[in-house]
Subunit: 490 residues, 2 copies
């Protein structure tokens, strides 16, 4: 729960010690606070040839109240920014302007529109932007590259060039350090809006409003511990209307969270409630006191159910009654670690049943009963162990790999009801569970990522809230790691 | 080139020192040698409910001359083994038989047929087999799990359970250590053979002969450094005939290897030649002497071409003349490492052009000219850096991520000509390049994988030879890491 090394090297004395000994100095990550502005500062915008997403980007930057500067390669930016009433200027690299890195020339985010890149040779536009701009990026800043889903590209060369962007964003995350997150967003080409066929504009406008919830998330301190990720946004119509309240995106919605008594589950319940949802928390009867306390703070409803019990799916459906639920978060999970040769059969069965099979039974029951409403959201908690496997966790890794299969397999089935299903895969998160690890393993887990620190439960919760957002209808069947770009992967 | 720690801890004195200090002791990996039998010893066979691949498995084990024992869960094995004239017995766990681990009860491979698993609860059959059998597995042994491609499963529950197998095999690789490789092979359900409609057999026989080249590879010492991988075999008809010479699979074929003068490229040329291919090696004119020497040893043809030169694709096509090529290996690549802020533009352009764009130009030319024959094989060398990104390698990572896009995008286009295209992604391989790394980085790269050591160029070459095999027609559009199950991933 407490990273004493991070606290030390960020104290006045500790910072001096760390500097003189060349110790790594993890940044204190900038996280969302209700009492501070979510968005401020400057976005530096770059673009490759024929960028198609700048109009949507300019609209979002204008609405969230950031300002912008345009790199020399993004010549299309100025007229678009003007159209959206967005303050903008030219990007001046810190070196050219005679400023030291981190001086007043610094920016909060670097966003590059790579959607028009159709050939590997055109990747030099990506280089040119980040070569000029990376040093101007503030600590805890953001790198977002926007591209087109490779698998939807018309030609192999375009697919290849779009796929190459992954190598860039992942490398940038590892180079940037200083609490900076770097992510790649592939935006499916939507139907063209009617404005496009008009001859009054020389710039193409696409119906790319489905990217707003995602752009907001990645530009916000809410995404503090999400880095090195690749997210695909499909074409499902999802733009909230003009009068949508982005500060309370879940207002009027009903959310259910399993394992909600404490830890990551309690953080999820808190964040969903803070965004306007009524939360029903489920946890085992033995945790009733903690569950009641958590729910009381957020005026939620406590359901002391064991999710593995055969009668529970029907009981949940009954408890949610005719109001149903809009968001269901499968967070409950257990570990029973042993190498497989020493593992007793109940340790295998229980972990698979609670972490995986129970989710299947509950979803089947709620979907059949119509308890989870059309247009709803399912978010499952997987794990980095489900991606990479782990020593002593064959059972846990199988269950969490199965969760990935669940979201991939259910997504097409649920699309006709406009329900999305996604997973988050936490890396090293500071919880009571990780606090009990042996020191060496805990320290390795904490430091082996681009943030040089573990995440907080709220980082997982904020990522789930983004996936649960009404504006995230285009995101389904995906797995997003919340791992600070952990070295550990598949 | 020389891992002195591995050599030391495997010396009589070093082994005692390592034991007393609890130092990790990487195994000397068992690799293929022409003067030793490729296959020997016992395969322990396990199975889940309704296994569908045991017949094909029994045929392969019989043909390669290994023997088998069947776990209690694989009751269908005995009659199938008998049908193929395969020596078989019951698997007796080392503990039950009163043997210490590693005694004469030991087996060379554990193979589990999970193809019939249709629900997460049935995963306990996987647990039961590996719980009983893992301790009986020899050092440098093999774990192979056979499943069905999740994305082709009829129900979400089956998809989920099949996807869960990834968590198992990856965890087993990390638990087993001792030079043991663990891999998952998803076999697409082929058309059922006519034998199946006969009533003379109570066991289902499927036309799964397309798995033989892959089963042989994963059971062979040729796959020494390939672990933690997931391979999909499609339904392309590929079974070599009865009289196929498995010791010379590339006999009569013509292969081309770029960057063939030394290092990994020379190893590729050697292995392809040893398997019967005539090899044409390409390398830059400055490396002509080394290229000539490498080609002379294998009676190959040397082409001193710079692959990045605009005229090279046409020159290659002309040099290969009307005989064309059956196998093309894009191995040539360079690094020019710098953080992006310090990287000069030529370093970006050259790396992208040589590692990625040149491959595109060459393939386009050879495919258009018909130089690469129908039914041929393209294998590209990607990198773990293309998967995970790397500090100081935005250019290299982009090029190698692009290579992944290339094989994914070209595979469907080439399928109608029965040409496959795949990539290998080496992890830490002992070469002149890695020998020049700073000690700390080199040691981290060597040890941060399940084999606790770097791979050898021949490990990459053997993997490429498997993908180039006439029997591997069902494998296309895939990326196989040769990394000893490196911790480092996406």
């Amino acid at each position: 729960m407490n990273d004493s090394y991070l606290n030390f090297v960020n104290s006045p004395l500790g910072a001096r010690v760390a500097r003189s000994l060349h110790l790594p100095k993890p940044e204190v990550l900038r996280r969302y606070r209700a009492d501070a502005p979510e968005f401020d500062g400057i976005v530096a915008v770059g673009a490759g040839p024929s960028p198609q997403l700048l109009d949507a980007l300019a609209g979002v930057i204008a609405r969230i109240g950031m300002t912008s500067v345009a790199h020399a390669g993004a010549s299309a930016w100025m007229p678009l920014a003007n159209r959206h009433g967005l303050m903008t200027g030219r990007f001046e690299p810190a070196q050219l302007a005679g400023h030291a890195a981190g001086s007043q020339a610094s920016v909060r985010a670097l966003v590059f529109d790579a959607s028009g890149i159709a050939d590997s040779a055109q990747l030099d536009t990506v280089y040119a932007f980040f070569h000029d701009a990376l040093r101007s990026l503030d600590k805890c800043g953001r790198i977002v590259v926007l591209g087109r889903p490779p698998e939807a590209c018309a030609s192999p060369r375009q697919w290849t060039a779009q796929r190459a962007l992954e190598g860039v964003t992942r490398s940038l995350g590892k180079e940037a350090r200083r609490g900076i997150a770097s992510n790649l967003v592939y935006v499916a080409e939507g139907s063209k809006s009617s404005a496009e066929s008009s001859t009054t504009s020389s710039v193409e406008h696409h119906n790319d409003s489905g990217i707003e919830s995602t752009l907001r998330f990645f530009l916000s301190p809410r995404s503090a511990y999400v880095s090195g990720q690749v997210v695909r946004i499909g074409t499902a119509p999802s733009a909230p209307g003009e009068d949508f309240d982005w500060t309370q995106p879940l207002a009027g919605q009903r959310a259910v969270v399993t394992g909600a008594a404490r830890g990551i589950g309690a953080a999820i319940a808190n964040v969903l409630a803070a965004q306007g949802a009524h939360v029903t928390g489920i946890d085992v009867p033995a945790a009733t006191d903690a569950l009641d306390a958590t729910m009381r703070q957020i005026s939620g409803t406590a359901l002391p159910f064991d999710i593995a019990a055969p009668e529970t799916p029907a009981q949940i459906a009954a408890a949610l009654d005719e109001l149903g639920a809009d968001v269901f978060v499968h967070n409950a999970g257990i570990t029973k670690d042993k190498t497989i040769a020493k593992m007793a059969e109940p340790a295998w069965r229980d972990v698979i049943d609670i972490n995986l099979s129970a989710q299947e039974r509950i979803d089947d029951a709620l979907l059949e009963a119509g308890t989870l409403r059309d247009g709803g959201r399912i978010v499952c908690v997987s794990s980095i162990g489900g991606i990479a496997g782990n020593l002593g966790q064959t059972n846990y890794a199988a269950s969490k790999a199965g969760v990935i299969g669940r979201v991939q397999s259910m997504a097409p089935h649920l699309a006709k009801r406009r329900i999305t299903i996604n997973a988050v895969a936490p890396g090293f998160i500071e919880t009571q569970m990780t606090a009990k690890m042996p020191l060496a393993i805990r320290e390795a887990g904490r430091r082996m990522n681009s943030m040089s620190q573990g995440g907080q439960p709220v980082d997982v919760a904020q990522t789930i809230a983004w996936l649960a957002h009404p504006g995230s209808a285009g995101i389904t069947g995906q797995v997003v790691r919340v791992c600070g770009q952990s070295l550990i992967g598949a």
